[in-house]
């Protein structure tokens, strides 16, 4: 049951990290509005393979908006035009027959391109390794209901923890700042009683690693919050600034 949308795609092709890249035009035909954006890429890739050309490399995995792997910059917006969704949840019904769609990789110094639309986001893992955790070894825990946590705090913490680490916030920021990502983790833990012990070190170490990785500063444009597929709130950045400020005073 293929459809009847015809589109022109302009897609960033780059053979490797060191090679120069360029936008290449591909017409696609017979697209169904029920397809996801990535399924439309499957159709194009199948065509390319059949023609003896190399398919387009892009990161993707769960295709239900939770793993954070997919990362396309579509017509100037990370994850495309629809609010609150990842690229894999974007459906072709969000476009019109005859549209031209430009697809680029995330662009940030800290996210080097590996190939085509695939970028290296390992910087995020390195930031988490500096403090995005509570130091509790397996087996050390007390009964889970021993520390009551107010529902409102638990909910706020959860909202911050919903970050999928896709990097859309960095890609959309004119400074390539990772503040929304880092602040989401710092907030999640700062809001919980379990997170208090390491609060100071966490804020300082994670921010230091963020700077080390070459992410830019935050100038409060708020673009990250607008483009975040999980709608992580800008309030987290305010909370992180407070955490960082307090950490510096206390030491």
């Amino acid at each position: 049951m293929s459809g009847n949308m015809n589109l022109t795609l302009r897609i960033w092709r780059q053979k490797s990290a060191k090679a120069n890249g360029q936008l290449v035009t591909y017409p696609v035909k017979g697209i169904s509005p029920d397809m996801s954006f990535l399924e439309m890429f499957d159709v194009l890739n199948e065509e390319l393979i059949n023609k003896g050309e190399e398919p387009i490399a892009f990161d993707h995995d769960c295709r239900e908006g939770i793993c954070g792997a997919c990362s396309m910059f579509i017509n100037g917006q990370p994850h495309g035009p629809k609010k609150g969704v990842t690229t894999c949840q974007l459906h072709m019904r969000s476009f019109k027959d005859g549209d031209t769609i430009v697809v680029e990789p995330w662009r940030a110094a800290a996210f080097p391109v590996i190939k085509d639309l695939t970028v290296d986001r390992a910087a995020f893992d390195r930031i988490i390794a500096k403090g995005g955790f509570i130091s509790v070894n397996t087996g050390n825990a007390q009964d889970a209901n021993n520390i009551p946590i107010p529902k409102t705090d638990a909910d706020l913490s959860f909202n911050a923890a919903a970050c999928i680490g896709c990097g859309a916030c960095v890609a959309t920021c004119k400074n390539s700042s990772a503040m929304l990502f880092v602040s989401a983790k710092i907030s999640q833990l700062a809001l919980l009683p379990q997170g208090q012990v390491e609060r100071i070190a966490r804020a300082k170490n994670m921010v230091a690693q963020m700077d080390e990785e070459g992410f830019g500063s935050c100038t409060n444009t708020g673009a990250c919050e607008v483009e975040c597929p999980k709608e992580i709130s800008l309030e987290n950045i305010a909370r992180m600034n407070r955490e960082y400020f307090m950490a510096n005073i206390k030491e």
Binding site: R63, F133, V136, S157, F158
Partner: protein, 659 residues
């Protein structure tokens, strides 16, 4: 005849694990520092095991094919995690969780393993909360619970519809902490393609760096496979696109027996297929069955919209057939019941292969509750609906959004349409009580092993098993093996066994590129998926399975003659990655059909049409099939079946009834 020793400890069921822990061999801290462990996969089982082992002092290397450990498919689990905490004071206990799991698995799992699982379940919740996992809470600050299929208590802990995400990120944070401390080396974008054995023991792996294409040799005193399930053999499933059987299958070909390969879970509540372009199916959490009611029209071929069909013309078939459990019957039962209604012509939607999942009554019920709570006298119908919607949104908001995103329909206003889809595989590498495969030093954890769910897994039990294996079981049981390995110095990867293994992988890569065929890897994968779904899916019979085996063999032959793998090895090449995975699925699929053919009884998710009751329920044959099928790979597509008899000392297998 059998080479299988499950190594279940002696003694009463309740004491097996505590006695084991008290008497198993230990490795002292100084020796742990020189013992190296390889962990393949970074999902709940892999991440939790790796972090726990590193905390104990072992040197750990972790591999995952994704770009980050945080992307493992455990992240997509929605509904929750079971634990026998009895926080709700509703009669739960370790024994009851054990019993529900054994019964839910249709008496095809080991008592010893399942009891241990139930026993450690409470520790998991404690551990996760200590890590800062924001599980749902009540206003008093205590943890909240809901119920899942196959149980009559509320023992499921959750974080909205993103429980897997929160638990995985907890385990991932523990893992990253160890990476920061330098005790774990994390190798993302690496895929394991061979197990290296030396003198019969697992001693390392060959992995491909997916960015450069370089084949790497890695040594370990022990190797843990935590690589998830193989549901993608069906092409369309709720699994992530990258989920595969390759690590487990390579291990199988190196001597690890494969347990119960035909036990597949078809999940009842998925969004129906919309067209040929479909690349995957999306699950709607089982938690929706807490409040949603499943129905079809009473009249076959009824084309009216759900809202136009009056109450008395609706058939709430689960409530009708299973009054005791209603909409919360286990997954296998719910899936079969949906198929039965659709096959009989009562299906809805354009494809007629769907049933309704309806929140209308839940919205009304919650609306009334909320009005009372808010003190609103004589609320209007619109107010009631609004109140109800608010409560439903609080509970299931993200799931409803997801549904709307995919289908373009608003589920607060119209009933959802759902249909069963492949979701989980209970089968996997055969392991003993220590989680060791039939290859010494090679362990298998989480969904990748066969151990705890029998022929059907209960909802919210996969997260429980993955974390139980990784946090609380393997860190003990591996000591029993490694305590005998302390004098083994790290073996150089120049050892000839590494050379031979690497050459085998290189040979397969060269072979892929040499074919220069005309059809994409996906072409073959889709064909395989169709054969599996049609003939080894929700219902199976002798004729179909025999046909499927022949068709798969033929397809495999075509694949090796006509597949086209573009590009080169020395670069990021997703088509080459897929080729490796589909090549293994093409072998596994045949074994699944052979296993399904051998097991001529029906049990759990395995439904043989020849073996059913008059009412169409699965009919077990305990006299003939109360065993685990463990298949040995004899090479050249030959397999030998070994049987591990299942012994029930405590629970007496009976007809599984949810009526």
């Amino acid at each position: 005849m059998s080479k299988l020793d499950s190594k279940i400890p002696e003694g009463n069921l309740e004491e097996k694990w505590s006695k084991y822990k008290a008497s198993c061999a230990l490795v002292n801290p100084a020796n742990k520092r020189s013992l190296e462990i390889i962990v393949v996969g970074s999902g709940l089982a892999g991440a939790s095991a790796a972090a726990s082992l590193a905390e104990l002092g072992y040197k750990v290397k972790v591999f995952c094919f994704q770009d980050s450990a945080r992307r493992a498919h455990s992240i997509a689990a929605q509904g929750g995690i079971n634990a026998a905490k009895n926080y709700q004071n509703d009669g739960d206990s370790t024994y009851r969780l054990f019993y529900d799991t054994i019964k839910g698995g249709d008496y095809r799992a080991r008592e010893g393993n399942v009891y241990r699982l139930a026993e450690v379940s409470a520790n998991i919740i404690d551990q996760c909360v200590a890590q800062g996992v924001p599980l749902a809470r009540e206003y008093g600050g205590m943890l909240s619970n809901r119920s899942f299929g196959g149980t009559q208590v509320q023992r499921t802990f959750y974080a909205a519809g993103q429980t897997g995400q929160q638990l995985l990120l907890g385990a991932y944070s523990g893992l990253q902490r160890q990476v920061g401390l330098g005790t774990v080396e994390m190798l993302a974008r690496h895929e394991m393609l061979e197990v290296v054995t030396i003198e019969g023991k697992a001693r390392g792996i060959i992995a491909r760096d997916l960015v450069t294409g370089k084949l790497e040799r890695h040594f370990g005193h022990a190797v843990l496979l935590c690589t998830g399930g193989y549901g993608n053999v069906f092409y369309l499933s709720t699994n992530a696109m990258g989920c595969n059987v390759t690590a487990a299958w390579k291990a199988h070909k190196k001597g690890a027996f494969f347990g119960n390969p035909c036990f597949t879970q078809i999940h009842p509540t998925c969004i129906p297929v919309s067209g040929d372009h479909q690349s995957k199916l999306t699950l709607m959490s089982e938690s929706l069955r807490n409040d949603g009611r499943i129905w079809v029209p009473k009249k076959a071929g009824d084309v009216r919209k759900a809202n136009e069909i009056p109450e008395e013309e609706r058939d709430y078939y689960l409530e009708r057939r299973y009054p005791a459990f209603g909409n919360l019957v286990p997954r296998d039962v719910a899936s079969r019941a949906a198929k039965e209604r659709c096959d009989a012509g009562f299906g809805v939607g354009t494809s007629k292969m769907a049933v309704f999942l309806d929140f209308k009554s839940a919205i009304e019920r919650y609306g009334h509750n909320q009005a009372v709570k808010l003190g609103v006298q004589n609320p209007t119908a619109a107010q009631l609906k609004d109140f109800g919607k608010q409560v439903v949104e609080e509970k299931y908001g993200n799931l409803f959004e997801m549904y709307e995103q995919i289908t373009g329909e608003n589920p607060y206003e119209v009933a959802m349409r759902i249909y069963p889809a492949v979701h989980y595989t209970m089968g996997g590498l055969w392991v003993d009580y220590n989680l060791m495969t039939t290859v010494p030093g090679l362990y298998c954890l989480g969904e990748a092993n066969f151990s705890d769910h029998g022929a059907n897994r209960l909802g919210a039990s996969a997260l429980m098993q993955g974390l139980a294996d990784g946090y609380f079981v393997l860190p003990y049981t591996i000591g029993a093996y490694l305590s005998k390995e302390i004098s083994v110095k790290a073996i150089s990867t120049d050892h000839e066994a590494f050379g031979i293994a690497e050459k085998a992988v290189q040979g397969q890569i060269d072979k892929f590129f040499a074919i220069k065929g005309t059809k994409s890897v996906d072409h073959f994968h889709k064909k395989l998926g169709k054969i599996m779904w049609d003939k080894c899916g929700m219902a199976r019979n002798e004729k179909g399975l025999n046909e499927a085996i022949l068709e798969i063999r033929q397809l495999r032959e075509e694949f090796w003659k006509d597949v086209r793998v573009p590009g080169t090895n020395n670069e990021l090449n997703p088509e080459l990655e897929k080729a490796f995975r589909v090549a293994d699925f093409l072998e596994l699929g045949e074994l699944m059909c052979m296993d399904a053919l051998n097991r001529s009884e029906s049990c759990g998710g395995h439904f043989r049409e020849e073996s059913q009751t008059e009412e169409g329920e699965a009919l077990r044959n305990d006299d003939k099939f109360s065993y685990v099928s463990a298949w040995e790979n004899k090479g050249d597509g030959k397999y030998e079946l070994h049987k591990e008899e299942l012994i029930f000392d405590v629970v007496h297998p009976s007809a599984r009834s949810y009526k």
